[in-house]
C-alpha cells in the first residue's frame, strides 16, 4: 500500500455516551472487552499502515497509558488537541507529525482493514486528487454527512441534508495529501469550529477532483450506550477476539479462573484476571473485561461488563452495560427488556436496555434496576433500592 501513515482522531468525549465517558474518551469505551480504538489500530496495521499519529484531548491520559508508545510494534505518535473544535481542527493538531500522504480515520468506530485498502486504491489511481473518501449507502442520510457521487467523483457534500436527494453518506475514512492542511486553514470556521466536510465542500467548489469510493465493512456506530451491546454482539459473532477459544464461541483468557460448575454460554469472552464463581451462568453475548468478578450463582446475559466490575452472588444481570470498577452487590436484579430511554431531552423508544451503570457506581445488595436505568459514575445505591430513570453522578440513593 502506498500510504504508510495514518492519523486517528481520538480526542472527543462522545457526549451522547455519557455517563460512560466520565473518565475516558469515547474511543476507549469497550467493544466486547477491548477499547474501540484497539480495533481501529488493528485494521490500520492489518492494511499495512506503518506509523500512526493519534490526536488526543479529552482524558488523554487514558489513551496514552493504555496503548503506550507502540501498538503491535507500530510507533504511536501522540499529538494533543486541547479544545475539541471540529474534525478539521483536530487534524491540524497532527500537522507537525505528518509529512506525506496519509489516511484519516475516527477512533470511535470499528471497521475492516479491507475498507482502508479500498480507499487507498482509489486515492493512488488519481494522483491529482487532493482527497479520497469512503462512502456507503444508508437508508437514513438525514442524520449524517451526505454525499453525491458521480463516476467516482464527489459532486456535493452536505451535513445532515433536509432533502431526500441523497443516498450515500460519508464513512469517515479519508486519504489526503499534505496540501489538505493549507486547505483546512483556509476554511472558514462555522460556529467556531473547523469541520473537514466544509473543507472538502470548498475543494469541490474550486473544481478539485475529490474521489469517493463505495466501501463496506463498517461496524454499527456506537452513538448511545446501548449501541455498545450491538457492537459487542457483532464482534463476538465475527470472532474478533484475542483470547484463546475453549470451544466454539467461548473465549477465556488463560489468567482467568472459571469455576468448574460455572457455565459459559457462547458467544462469550472472558478477559484476563477474571473470576467466575461456582454455579454462575455467563452468556450468551457477554463480554467481561479484565479483572471482572462474577460471583456464585449469578446470571449475566447480553451484557458488557468493563474492567474490575464485580457482580455479587445470586445476581441477575440482562442487557446491561457496566463501566469500570462497578460493584453490583449480592442479589442485584437487572431484568432487562425493551423500554423508552431518555438521553438529554430526547426520548428513544423501545430500546433493549437493562441498565447503564457508569464507572465506580456501587449497588449495595438486593438492588433492582428497572429497564433503561442510567446510573451515574460513583453513585451509591443502598440495600434494596429500586432505581429507574437517571441517577446523577455521585448520588447516594437511600430508598
Amino acid at each position: 500500500m502506498s500510504v504508510r501513515t495514518a492519523v486517528v482522531l481520538a480526542a472527543g468525549e462522545g457526549n451522547r455516551l455519557r455517563p460512560l465517558t466520565y473518565n475516558r474518551p469515547k474511543p476507549m469505551l469497550p467493544a466486547a472487552n477491548r477499547p474501540i480504538l484497539g480495533y481501529v489500530f488493528d485494521a490500520l496495521i492489518d492494511a499495512g499502515i506503518e506509523r500512526i499519529t493519534v490526536v488526543i484531548g479529552y482524558k488523554r491520559d487514558r489513551v496514552q497509558e493504555h496503548f503506550g508508545p507502540t501498538y503491535r510494534d507500530t510507533p504511536l505518535d501522540y499529538v494533543v488537541q486541547d479544545k475539541q473544535l471540529g474534525s478539521g481542527h483536530a487534524l491540524l493538531a497532527a500537522r507537525s507529525s505528518v509529512d506525506e500522504p496519509f489516511l484519516l480515520v475516527n477512533g470511535d468506530r470499528v471497521f475492516d482493514s479491507g475498507l482502508v485498502a479500498d480507499v487507498v486504491a482509489e486515492f493512488d489511481a488519481y494522483p491529482d486528487a487532493p482527497a479520497a473518501l469512503g462512502v456507503l449507502e444508508h437508508r437514513d442520510v438525514r442524520r449524517y454527512g451526505a454525499v453525491a457521487l458521480h463516476e467516482g467523483r464527489i459532486d456535493e457534500i452536505v451535513e445532515k441534508p433536509e432533502s431526500d436527494d441523497f443516498r450515500l453518506i460519508n464513512a469517515g475514512v479519508y486519504a489526503f495529501r499534505t496540501g489538505i492542511f493549507d486547505a483546512i486553514e483556509a476554511t472558514e470556521r462555522r460556529d467556531g469550529e473547523l469541520q473537514l466536510p466544509d473543507t472538502l465542500a470548498r475543494l469541490i467548489d474550486e473544481g478539485e477532483d475529490v474521489r469517493g469510493v463505495r466501501v463496506d465493512g463498517l461496524s454499527p456506530h456506537a452513538t448511545y450506550p446501548w449501541d455498545l451491546l450491538t457492537v459487542t454482539q457483532e464482534i463476538l459473532a465475527r470472532g474478533r477476539v484475542d483470547e484463546p477459544a475453549r470451544e466454539q464461541g467461548v473465549w477465556v483468557d488463560d489468567t482467568s479462573l472459571v469455576h468448574e460448575s460455572a457455565t459459559l454460554q457462547a458467544p462469550v469472552v472472558v478477559g484476563p484476571d477474571c473470576e467466575v464463581g461456582p454455579g454462575a451462568v455467563v452468556g450468551p453475548d457477554v463480554a467481561l473485561g479484565r479483572n471482572v468478578t462474577v460471583e456464585a450463582n449469578a446470571t449475566v446475559t447480553r451484557s458488557v461488563l468493563d474492567g474490575d466490575t464485580r457482580v455479587g452472588p445470586g445476581s441477575t444481570v440482562l442487557d446491561c452495560v457496566a463501566g469500570q470498577d462497578v460493584t453490583l452487590g449480592p442479589g442485584t436484579l437487572v431484568p432487562g427488556g425493551q423500554t423508552d430511554v431518555r438521553i438529554g431531552t430526547h426520548v428513544h423508544e423501545d430500546r433493549s436496555l437493562g441498565a447503564v451503570v457508569a464507572d465506580r457506581a456501587d449497588a449495595d445488595g438486593g438492588v433492582t434496576l428497572e429497564p433503561g436505568t442510567l446510573v451515574g459514575p460513583g453513585a451509591r445505591l443502598h440495600v434494596g433500592v429500586r432505581a429507574r430513570g437517571e441517577i446523577p453522578a455521585g448520588a447516594e440513593v437511600l430508598d
Binding site: R60, D61, P69, L76, Y78, T255, H259, P272, D273, E295
Partner: protein, 595 residues
C-alpha cells in the same frame, strides 16, 4: 552509577548504535558521556554534561569503525569534566576503556604506573586500566592477554570493556556490576542494561561475576578468568523496547505514576484467587519463615518496613534493616529468612547485606523487578514484582508493586485466607486508577510549592508511606522534607513546625491509629502549620485540615498504597511547579551499584 554499551558487527552504524544505547541508559547517570570506536586507530569523543553535548560534538566530527564502546557517567571519583569522562586511553591512545563501578586499589596501581613512566590525564580510578593494558602489551601480550592481565591487577567492583587500535574485538568482564550481552544474527551488543540494545534484539546473555567475554564479527565467546569456555544460556526478554518511551507524557515519572494500575495487574496476575480465598506463589512454594529480616535501601527500605509490619500483624517476628547498616553491624539472624528488597537487583549495599546473611548460614529471598539481576541469581528464592522497566530516577510504580508483592508474599507465607483483604488486593489496580483520576494534588502543590519544609506523618502501615512521601518530595523538588512516625512529632520535630511548613498527615480508617494521628494533627494546627490530610474520609481529620487528598475506602494494607499515590502526585506537581529536572534529579542515579 554509570552505563556502558558496546557494539560489534554493524560497521557502518557503530556510532549510531552506541548513541542510541547511551540515550536509553541516560537514566543511569548523566554528568558526562563518551564513545570510542576502533579502526586502525582508536577514536575517542567525550563530553561533560548531558548526552546532547556529545551528540553535538559527533555531528561535526563523527568517529567511525567496525567496533565501538560508549559510556555515560555518574561521578564517584573526580568531578564531572571532559577529561574525567570515559572512555579513557593509555599514553599512546592505542587502547580505550570504559568502566562502571569502583577500583578500590587504584591509588596503589596508579603510583606504580606513574613510577614506571605512565602519564595520567584524569582523576579517575578507571584510567589505571588502559595503562595496565598498555604495559602488558609492551611485554608482548596479545590484546586479550593484556586485558586479562590488567583485570587481574585490580580489585573492586566493575563492568569493564575495552577496544584496541587495529583490533576487531571488544573485550569485557564484570565483578559486582551488571553486564549483559545482546545477541543478534549479525551483530553482538553489550550493555549495563537491556534497554540499550532492546530495539535491535530480544536475545540476551547475562554474564556472571568473573566471566570474560570476547566479541568480534564472528560472534561472541564467554570464558572464565582461567580462560575456560563457558556454555551460556540465551534468555529472551519479553518486554517491548518502546516501553521505555515517554508516550506523550511530560516526564517518565508521570507516565510511571499513571502506569501503576497496569504494573499492579502484572504483579497480581495469576497469583490471586479471591473467590477461593488464597494467594499462591509457585516460586515460593514451601517458604514458611518463622521470622523475617528485610534488608534494603532508599525507597525499597520503606517497602521493607511495610513488609515487616505485614508479617508482624500475622504474628511472625519481622524487622527491616538498612542494608548498609546491616553489613557493618549485623544482628543475630537465628533461623530468620533474610529478604532483600531491591528494584534493580544490583544495589550494592543490599547485595552485601544478603551475602553477609548467607555467609552466616541464612536462607535468602530476593524481591526485585529485574529478571536475571545479580540478586535474583544469588538468592535462594526470588519473587519478581513484574513492574516493567522504570526510567524515572525517583521510584514510583516499582514502590507500589513492591508493596503489592509483599502482600502476596505475606498472604502466601502465613497461609492467610482473609477473603476481604485478598479482594482488596485484587481491587488495587482499579482503586489506584480512581486515585489518579480524582486527585487534587496538583492544586495543593500550587498552593504550597514555596514552603520552607514539608513534614509527613503517619502511624502503623502509614509510617513507611510518610517516609516515602518525604523521600519522593526531597528527591525531585530539592526541598527539605522529612517523614516521622506521627507519635514522634512531639518528641522533637515539632520545634521545626512553622506556618510555612505544611504537615502532610496520612490517616486511614477510624480506629485508634487514626484517632491518635488526628490528635497529632491538632498539635501542629495549634502552631499554625498548614495541614494536608491524606484520608479515606473515615476519621474526622478533615475538620483540622486545610486541604484533603482523598482515597477510596479499603483495607488498611491497601490504603497505604493508595495514600502513597497521592504523595507521588504531590511531589511530582510540586517539582513541576518549581521547574525541576524531574526524571533526572541532581546528584542522583537510578540504582546505586557502589557501597
Amino acid at each position: 552509577m554509570c552505563g556502558i554499551v558496546g557494539c560489534v558487527g554493524r560497521p557502518d552504524e557503530t556510532l549510531d548504535v552506541l548513541m542510541h544505547g547511551l540515550s536509553k541508559l541516560e537514566y543511569r547517570g548523566y554528568d558526562s558521556a563518551g564513545v570510542a570506536l576502533a579502526n586502525s586507530a582508536v577514536e575517542i569523543e567525550k563530553h561533560e554534561g548531558e548526552l546532547a553535548n556529545l551528540e553535538r560534538a559527533v555531528e561535526s566530527d563523527a568517529p567511525a569503525g567496525p567496533v565501538g564502546i560508549g559510556h555515560t557517567r555518574w561521578s564517584t571519583h573526580g568531578p564531572p569534566s571532559d577529561r574525567n569522562s570515559h572512555p579513557h586511553a593509555d599514553c599512546e591512545g592505542e587502547v580505550a576503556v570504559i568502566h562502571n563501578g569502583i577500583i578500590e586499589n587504584f591509588q596503589e596501581v596508579k603510583d606504580e604506573l606513574t613510577a614506571a613512566g605512565h602519564e595520567f590525564t584524569s582523576d579517575t580510578d578507571t584510567e589505571v586500566v588502559p595503562h595496565l593494558i598498555e604495559s602488558a602489551l609492551a611485554d608482548g601480550a596479545s590484546n586479550e592477554e593484556a586485558f586479562r592481565a590488567a583485570i587481574e591487577r585490580i580489585e573492586g567492583s566493575y563492568a569493564i570493556a575495552a577496544v584496541f587500535a587495529g583490533g576487531d574485538s571488544v573485550f569485557c568482564t564484570r565483578q559486582d556490576s551488571p553486564l549483559v550481552l545482546g545477541i543478534d544474527d549479525d551483530a553482538t551488543y553489550l550493555a549495563s542494561d537491556v534497554p540499550a540494545f532492546r530495539e535491535f534484539t530480544d536475545r540476551v546473555v547475562y554474564l556472571e561475576d568473573g566471566e570474560f567475554a570476547r566479541i568480534d564479527a564472528d560472534g561472541w565467546n564467554v570464558s572464565t578468568a582461567d580462560g575456560e569456555s563457558v556454555e551460556k544460556t540465551i534468555h529472551t526478554v519479553n518486554w517491548d523496547a518502546e516501553e521505555t518511551g515517554k508516550s506523550g507524557y511530560d516526564h517518565f515519572m508521570l507516565k510511571e505514576i499513571h502506569e501503576q494500575p497496569r504494573a499492579l495487574r502484572q504483579c497480581l496476575r495469576g497469583r490471586v484467587d479471591e473467590l477461593g480465598g488464597q494467594v499462591e506463589l509457585e516460586e515460593l512454594a514451601g517458604v514458611r519463615p518463622s521470622s523475617v529480616q528485610f534488608v534494603a535501601c532508599g525507597t525499597s527500605y520503606h517497602a521493607a518496613l511495610y513488609g515487616a509490619e505485614l508479617f508482624r500483624e500475622a504474628g511472625i517476628p519481622a524487622q527491616a534493616f538498612l542494608a548498609s547498616e546491616y553489613v557493618t553491624s549485623p544482628p543475630p539472624i537465628g533461623d530468620a529468612l533474610v529478604v532483600g528488597v531491591t528494584q534493580s537487583g544490583e544495589t550494592a549495599d543490599t547485595l552485601s547485606a544478603l551475602r553477609e546473611a548467607r555467609q552466616r548460614g541464612a536462607r535468602t529471598l530476593a524481591l526485585t523487578n529485574v529478571v536475571g539481576s545479580t540478586v535474583a541469581r544469588e538468592c535462594d528464592h526470588t519473587l519478581y514484582i513484574r513492574a516493567g522497566p522504570e526510567i524515572g530516577v525517583a521510584a514510583s510504580k516499582t514502590f507500589a508493586s513492591q508493596l503489592a508483592a509483599l502482600n502476596l508474599f505475606a498472604f502466601a507465607a502465613t497461609d492467610d485466607h482473609d477473603r476481604e483483604a485478598i479482594g482488596a488486593l485484587r481491587d488495587l489496580p482499579s482503586t489506584v486508577q480512581e486515585v489518579i483520576d480524582d486527585s487534587t494534588a496538583e492544586s495543593v502543590a500550587e498552593a504550597y510549592h514555596d514552603a520552607d519544609a514539608y513534614f509527613f506523618i503517619g502511624r502503623g502501615l502509614n509510617y513507611p508511606v510518610a517516609l516515602e512521601g518525604a523521600l519522593k518530595l526531597k528527591e525531585i523538588t530539592y526541598r527539605h522534607a522529612e517523614g516521622f512516625a506521627a507519635g514522634e512529632l512531639k518528641h522533637g520535630p515539632l520545634a521545626l513546625v512553622t506556618d510555612n511548613s505544611p504537615v502532610i498527615a496520612i490517616t486511614t480508617g477510624d480506629g485508634e491509629l487514626a484517632r491518635k494521628t488526628v490528635n497529632n494533627v491538632k498539635e501542629v494546627e495549634a502552631r499554625d502549620a498548614p495541614v494536608i490530610a491524606v484520608t479515606d474520609g473515615q476519621s474526622d481529620i478533615e475538620r483540622y485540615a486545610d486541604h484533603v487528598l482523598t482515597i477510596p475506602e479499603t483495607q488498611p494494607r491497601t490504603a497505604a498504597v493508595l495514600a502513597n499515590v497521592q504523595l507521588q502526585l504531590l511531589a511530582y506537581h510540586t517539582a513541576d511547579q518549581l521547574g525541576r529536572s524531574i526524571d533526572k534529579p541532581r546528584n542522583l542515579a537510578k540504582s546505586v551499584t557502589v557501597e
